[in-house]
Symmetry: D2
């Protein structure tokens, strides 16, 4: 699979398609998009693996000069869809997103290897282990009390995560804010689910905020983690209707169903290499 | 129709239902709600008009002591659904909400009298007059240039509006911010449609803000106008999906379809006396 | 909780509310509806348990003459929301609905006792037992080969189910058609999730049917099981958008997310005694 | 704009993209899809008009051999997006779709020429003429009484329609079934809005059918007209939630909002040449 972004001009499609045609590449799915504001061109080409007689590395080598010919600011990557992707999941107490992801993996819907689940509480250890996945409990100091201990806890998490070199680090209702260093280290791989329709209700207790404001829909947002809280590029969002009969608890319950599907959809798009970032926005092919 | 809010306690339903039963009132639709946070009770009772041998005023007189017995903070109103409701619409240049409302009235779906349309531009005069409705063009100074002239323009609007004593003043993409005096004078009757899913993207150019943030849904909010811009009690909201292929113009176009239905639904709820305000939130029966 | 249906006339609300007020009953949630076509009145009254000094049985005894006074066709039931409800789940091979329900129970969202899971395959035994719930594998003959063996298998299922006297028998993508006797025995308690937006695509392979027809949305329907296949009273439905890029497998995958929430919502409404049947339609308070 | 369908094989994208690149064609929007069931390839290429120094006819001439090289079953068309498209609208009594379409045209959202509106009743003459569009009243005999008169009425309609050679013939809640000859003559151009979520509730009074079945969502379907009633290729569908409080009239009212947007979206897709038919299914780019 080739994902590429470069300044728009005529002939890009012809160049890439010509390159693939020469190699006998059978394009299963091809997507193109031009952003008219920035005049930037995006494409994703999914090629049938048996139509190419090259390894991913050989393909990268052959494609490099083609990409270079499209301008020096061109960004591209080639991923091997044959490779099973590795995922590490960070959790806290809330169970629903973890149950949902593990259920999807167990049912064969999400074909990934969950290498580890890391929790700042141990309440989700049992369900994790029942799926045959190692659970790591990393203790955090009480919020705001001991910054050194907090950073130490994150160091521990980082070691576990990095030991698996995962394609995605999923913050499945992990309630700790990542330090800037980790945001940078995992840029483009750390995915968060926030329980509001961002940019509304950033930060803590978004359902309480939503209830206070009296909104008629609550939502969830799956986004890449960046240094600014809840402000990273959005991959997927959805909402569900609520009304005056819904207490905050009802909103939380209804919202959970949206959180689960929004996270699952966002993660799938990421793992299928369908998401191209462009500044703080995303193209999701 | 009786709408009532009062502190919750046992026996309120029995009291009201007993009152209506004694008069032979045939309840067509009855709604109840208790807000657990504030322990406030809300009800709306729609009674078949031919089952009562009273005028609305007589009913009010009879009901007053019943309401008083429910506590001194009780708020209630009785409206006569037989009376045709009057609406004044404020517009600027954007045509879609006005076309939509007038179409609904013409098609008999919205059974109201549109007494007048007032515009700070005259572009929508022709369509208004084609529906047999008077159009008033009230000129506004360029934004931020002449506060006196702006307030004078609003005085002119106020005179026209108040001469009709309307049940609803609809800001159908009227791009001027109401002065505080008008917000107060029309409290609970001035209804705005804002072209975002509030509280996101308050103020000007919300679709531009939405595009910049890269959201995956755009929305619209129908709310009562209060002194704080775009912060009044929300009556209705909805959203529509957008993606990276949608330019700002596409978002504007898709959003218009949501604005129209959200405004029409919100206005209908208001005119059917289904909306009870409670602080900055609404109960919509 | 009181649920009641009777022919409409004036004074019903007053009668019931008066009855509850006399007992000091604090109404937490009250819903009323009149069906104008059949002139039938429906109500559901949820009363705070600590406001009554009666057991459910005593309340039933006291209410019986009140109900009788509302006409001889009056149907009513009083359920004790303090009692934990029992559920038996029937499954086949598809895992997603079972994972979802068990996840909701484990996370405390659905406060029920899952007494047993019964499968005509044994693939879901492990996940069931991991939740500490007994799994029964009941073998079925190959479809259409041995009617006697099929009915014997259902007899076995019936014995297991009835031994728990469950409030709900959930067919969570159970692929066998219930015999008429079981439909009758479990009337109003057997709940099915059908993977289409009924009445479209009744019967087998609804996603294939949907793909062939080229629809732009796929859906799911939660309904009571009746003798006629996929034709029972509908409790809940929802849909999700698909397009030409979705293969049948994609539709199946997207549809699963809808099946799960529609089943969970429908089951919750049933267990909270919010569903009143009226012919082949439902009132869901 | 080039739309093309042909049997899939390697190199098609390269061929078409190469052709356009050679002409200096700047691709604004390119879409590709392969149907895995039929192994059929679809593409739509929107080229910036000022990047080509050819007329549409010259482009067609140049492209013909390219298309031929992709197999003899290849189907393609080139449309000139610079040309303003012509639309004829057929109506009966229901006003909402016509109001909606005319409002969109008047507001500049839908940039088409509405050449004529034809009604089997004359109730919508005034609003049509207020938009400066000719209205033709063609009388139909009472249903089922006089087949000859019915066909004569359709002959009259056909003459009016064909005199404008329209890009789309829109049946905007036109309640007459087109004769087979007209279905054939206008194949791929006659667009209907059906007021149900097809394939549910084909034919007359779908909201009544929906109410009887007790569905929890009602919908609308925009499709090409074919000889079999309400069975043509679907362009767009959507739904809206209803519940037991909605009478048939309420369903009709809520459904109208869906009909309007579904028709408007479907028509836009058709006019922008985004719809490629494939058997009874559509690819909507």
């Amino acid at each position: 699979m080739i994902s590429l972004g470069c300044p728009d001009r005529t002939g890009i499609v012809a160049t890439i398609a010509g390159f693939l045609a020469e190699l006998g590449g059978w394009i299963v799915e091809a997507s193109y998009h031009t952003d008219p504001d920035t005049n930037w061109f995006f494409t994703r080409q999914e090629v049938r693996v048996d139509s190419l007689e090259l390894t991913a590395d050989e393909l990268r080598e052959r494609f490099a000069p083609v990409a270079a010919s499209l301008g020096e600011r061109t960004e591209w990557r080639i991923s091997d869809t044959g490779e099973r992707q590795r995922v590490v999941i960070l959790v806290s107490k809330a169970a629903h997103c973890l149950y949902d992801l593990l259920g999807r993996v167990a049912a064969g819907e999400l074909d990934v290897e969950v290498c580890a689940v890391i929790g700042n509480h141990d309440g989700l250890a049992a369900v994790t282990q029942a799926h045959g996945i190692p659970f790591h409990h990393v203790r955090f100091p009480k919020a705001g009390t001991d910054e050194t201990a907090r950073l130490a806890a994150f160091d521990e998490i980082r070691k576990i995560v990095d030991s698996h070199d995962p394609h995605a680090v999923v913050l499945a209702r992990f309630m700790q804010v990542l330090p800037m260093e980790l945001c940078a280290a995992w840029a483009g791989r750390a995915i968060n689910i926030h329980h509001s329709f961002l940019p509304s209700f950033v930060g803590a207790r978004p359902y309480h905020q939503a209830h206070t404001r009296g909104v008629k829909l609550v939502g969830a947002t799956c986004h890449y983690v960046t240094a600014e809280l809840d402000a990273g590029p959005i991959i997927e969002q959805d909402v569900i209707r609520v009304d005056h009969t819904d207490s905050i608890d009802d909103m939380v319950r209804k919202g959970r169903d949206i959180e689960k599907v929004v996270l699952a959809r966002g993660l799938r798009s990421h793992l299928e290499d369908r998401v191209l970032m462009h500044g703080n926005r995303t193209v999701v092919f």
